[in-house]
Point group: C2
Chain length 238, copies 2
């Protein structure tokens, strides 16, 4: 039995809730964790608010192996993620000397006092430097802090992803032209035959056409392959 590695996502930002910005980081993380064999168990989008950060971390940080946070790391008044995480953990916010010297070196004379906010971290934070990027990913306990800007989120996640790799998931997908209500019993039968797998059933409209996507998933490669072959033949799918 493989020890299940789990994760939760917290997107922080008023702009996500107001419909001003579409959160793409959740989907990016979900796909990456799937490839790494980690089960993403929860996602949350919350405002730039200290109580919201504390409440959400209280719920997630003890329960899941990792918590991935996106957003709220900039220098302006609405960037409060570092403070929120520190408060939730009961630690201080401190200025990290390595980050401070990086910022001083990079900005030189152009350094604004407010830029030094980017050197502030929850006490005990670990820095994970990424290729070609000035600012590292911060982690504290099992919480990883990423920037909200999608290009940076993706680059930074790509750069440190291998440290999270776990035992793989296996999946099989079957497309089927019947209505979901016609295949209910066949899916239940397959779940009985292959108890180690999960089956999801997802209706889709493609233009005028209707299809159901069946997704078989499990940690045991052989069971997934056999269940996929079984369903392909019973459902008459492609």
């Amino acid at each position: 039995m493989v020890q299940e590695v789990t994760a939760a996502y917290i997107g922080i930002g008023d702009e996500l809730l107001s419909g001003s910005t579409r959160d793409t980081n959740f989907f990016c993380l979900a796909r990456t964790l799937k490839e790494l064999g980690i089960r993403l168990a929860r996602g949350a989008v919350i405002p730039d608010d200290l109580d919201a950060i504390r409440e959400t971390l209280d719920l997630y940080r003890k329960r899941y192996t990792y918590v991935f946070i996106s957003g709220g790391l900039g220098p302006t008044h609405d960037d409060i993620t570092v403070l929120g995480v520190a408060r939730a953990l009961g630690v201080r916010v401190v200025r990290n000397p390595v980050l401070e010297s990086k910022l001083r070196e990079y900005f030189g004379d152009r350094l604004e006092a407010s830029s030094l906010k980017m050197a502030e971290v929850p006490e005990g934070a670990v820095l994970h430097f990424c290729d070609q990027l000035l600012i590292p990913v911060l982690s504290v306990e099992n919480i990883y802090l990423f920037p909200g800007i999608p290009e940076l989120f993706e680059k930074k996640l790509e750069s440190i992803r291998e440290r999270f790799r776990s035992a793989p998931f296996y999946t099989a997908e079957i497309l089927c032209d019947r209505f979901e209500s016609e295949i209910v019993d066949m899916l239940l039968d397959a779940l009985k035959r292959f108890p180690s797998i999960k089956i999801g059933s997802y209706p889709q409209w493609k233009g005028e056409g209707y299809q159901v996507k069946i997704v078989v998933e499990g940690r045991e490669q052989e069971a997934v392959e056999r269940a996929g072959a079984h369903l392909r033949s019973t459902l008459g799918g492609g």
Copy 2:
């Protein structure tokens, strides 16, 4: 002082967490609620799991004016939203006679036993029929149930949106070519001058270019317009 109307979103579905499907309903809801003057306060993505549904509803349903749920309303084994909501509210799942006769009329001889699952509702549910769609939106207490399929989610929300309309939000957006660290004090100054507004600051990369989008928001139209004009002149933005 306007009474604040608030909402939370719960996307239910293993496929959203596994990266197999991108959740677009959250963004659709966020934009719609913004237009309607409702503050979306939380979003969550959770698995097809009764305990997860109960936990999330326990957190949201008393605190926010409305809870919008998307997904898990189909006939297959992984569609458990109706049961999950009923359990969270401590009510039974019952077969609704209006829905049952609609389904019998529509499917006729082709009605599968499993299709009748689509007539099951949490006891006390209200049906909100939508133009040209067989299945209505269900609500029970302040919880509204929408299908996960994006085309249907959008149609149904569009169809009943006006019942939620509240006092409007006003916004002003300013694009600015400076770094965020250079404008921190100007934003703080504007917040002092116009205490009824909120200001968000969002860096964006567009190809090679860098810009900061400043979003001013509030319930008082004049304050938002004056703050927008003030920031446009101090930031030198477009």
